[in-house]
């Protein structure tokens, strides 16, 4: 690369900086002209964010969200992977469950909110349930595809090297071969599930989403946006972390 490549990257950074600045200026100009309950200015949002940070409220509400987000994602990802691997591998399981899966999978996770409320109430458990369903289907689908596309050739090689049971074949060839797809499912789940979290909280579960809606109800729009930006920050952070883990686990990929 050398100097040319660095200059190129610098140019692109400048463009990004210019774009962000332009956005903020437009936002500020518009925000100045309209009442704050329609669109607060960037500095009002920064002020609200600061207040929430200093008072510790932001961390409390973020903690509430994480309390249903994390278990929902973890259980959903594990269960989705297991079912995806099972159905992708076994013709019998595939045949038995395909009709059920076909019907249930297109249902948006949020539609289950009625059952979440009736069965579990809209606390952490109910919200975690919604998150679980989101993570489950996303990971399921990726694991299923990944196992279905696992290399026949490599399974044959394994057989010539003494692998003689389904379990060994799954453990030593099929799952490692499907790992890139499974991890794509995990990454997508981690992103998509923030949507589930916020949606569940808009219905009343405690957390960042609940703060967004209650602030808006009080016309404290700057506070709403502060919490919206919090979601963005947490998403970026978790996505970055997953990408790091993923590239570490998959550094064998060409």
């Amino acid at each position: 690369m050398g100097a040319l490549g660095r200059q190129w990257n610098l140019t692109r950074l400048w463009r990004g900086f210019a774009g962000a600045t332009g956005f903020l200026i437009v936002w500020w100009l518009v925000g100045r002209e309209v009442p704050s309950y329609l669109l607060p200015t960037p500095d009002e949002v920064v002020g609200a964010l600061w207040t929430e940070l200093v008072s510790g409220q932001l961390f409390i509400h973020l903690g509430e969200s994480l309390l249903h987000y994390v278990p929902g994602v973890v259980i959903g990802v594990v269960a989705g992977s297991l079912l995806g691997i099972g159905m992708g591998w076994s013709q019998v399981i595939d045949d038995v469950l395909t009709p059920v899966v076909r019907v249930l999978r297109p249902i948006p996770p949020l539609a289950w909110i009625v059952f979440a409320i009736i069965w579990l109430g809209l606390g952490h458990t109910g919200a975690a349930f919604i998150v679980f369903i989101g993570a489950f289907w996303i990971t399921f689908y990726n694991a299923y595809e990944g196992v279905g596309n696992a290399s026949r050739d490599l399974m044959e090689v394994a057989a010539t090297l003494g692998v003689d049971s389904d379990w060994r074949l799954l453990w030593r060839v099929v799952v490692p071969d499907a790992l890139p797809e499974i991890l794509t499912g995990v990454r997508t789940s981690i992103g998509q599930c923030w949507m589930m979290v916020i949606a569940a909280e808009l219905f009343g579960a405690p957390g960042v989403g609940y703060e967004i809606i209650t602030s808006a109800n009080n016309l404290a729009m700057a506070r709403s946006i502060a919490y919206m930006l919090t979601i963005s920050a947490v998403f970026l952070l978790s996505d970055w972390a997953v990408r790091r883990v993923r590239s570490h686990l998959l550094d064998w990929q060409p």
């Binding site: 490599l154 044959e156 057989a159 010539t160 090297l161 071969d177």
Partner: protein
Amino acid sequence: MNYDTKAEIDVNGVSKQYEGESGTTTALRDVSLMIASGEFVTVLGPSGCGKTTLLRLVSGLESPTDGDIMVAGEPVQGPNPNRGTVFQAYHLFPWLPVRENVSFGLVEMGVPDTERRDRVQEMLDLVGLSDFADAYPKELSGGMKQRVGLARALAVDPDVLLLDEPFGSVDIQTRQRLQQKLLDIWSDTEKTVLFVTHNIEEAVALSDRIIVLSGTPGRVRATVSVERSRPRDRSAQWFVEQVETLFEQIGPDT
């Protein structure tokens, strides 16, 4: 050369048919051959003559429609690490470093850790890849990949080595080096080798015996003994003549 008269590989009246959408294809018809213990036999034939099918039948990856195959006095029923197989497309496990690729069969055999490490090191030294023990397959050239493939098949110390056009995807210099390497290993270990190729020169340079297969369907057209000491001079009169004779036997479709 005198070999043990007991056949290590005994292919008896074997036919193989595939049922396809366009009807039945016969890949092999009534093929019989015997390979003595420690013998180096090449199956030579044009593309599509069924020679890979024959090798897959001996390896146990497929079963014959008719006839039977005995290896070391036992009927072939599925793959077995005692018949080490090397594939043209290498088929290394991309997620495993070289060391663990070589170690794959040893793990399945339940060889203890320290013993396994020693054996892997021995194999890596044998194929000259000790410096690449921790590299992933993506970092290797074609010739190096095939050396790993060879080491992986040899690690479990099989009595029979089955090679399916193993050097078909590497450049000519590398091919000749790998051929010599294979001959060295063969004469050191006294393994029985079944080698499949469409390359006449390769067959003449390596084999004790060449079985010429013609297709389609594949049948044994001729068996040629090459009773010359190795290494063989490819520009020698007899070599050139042998290649020409075989060329005529195989026919114009090569």
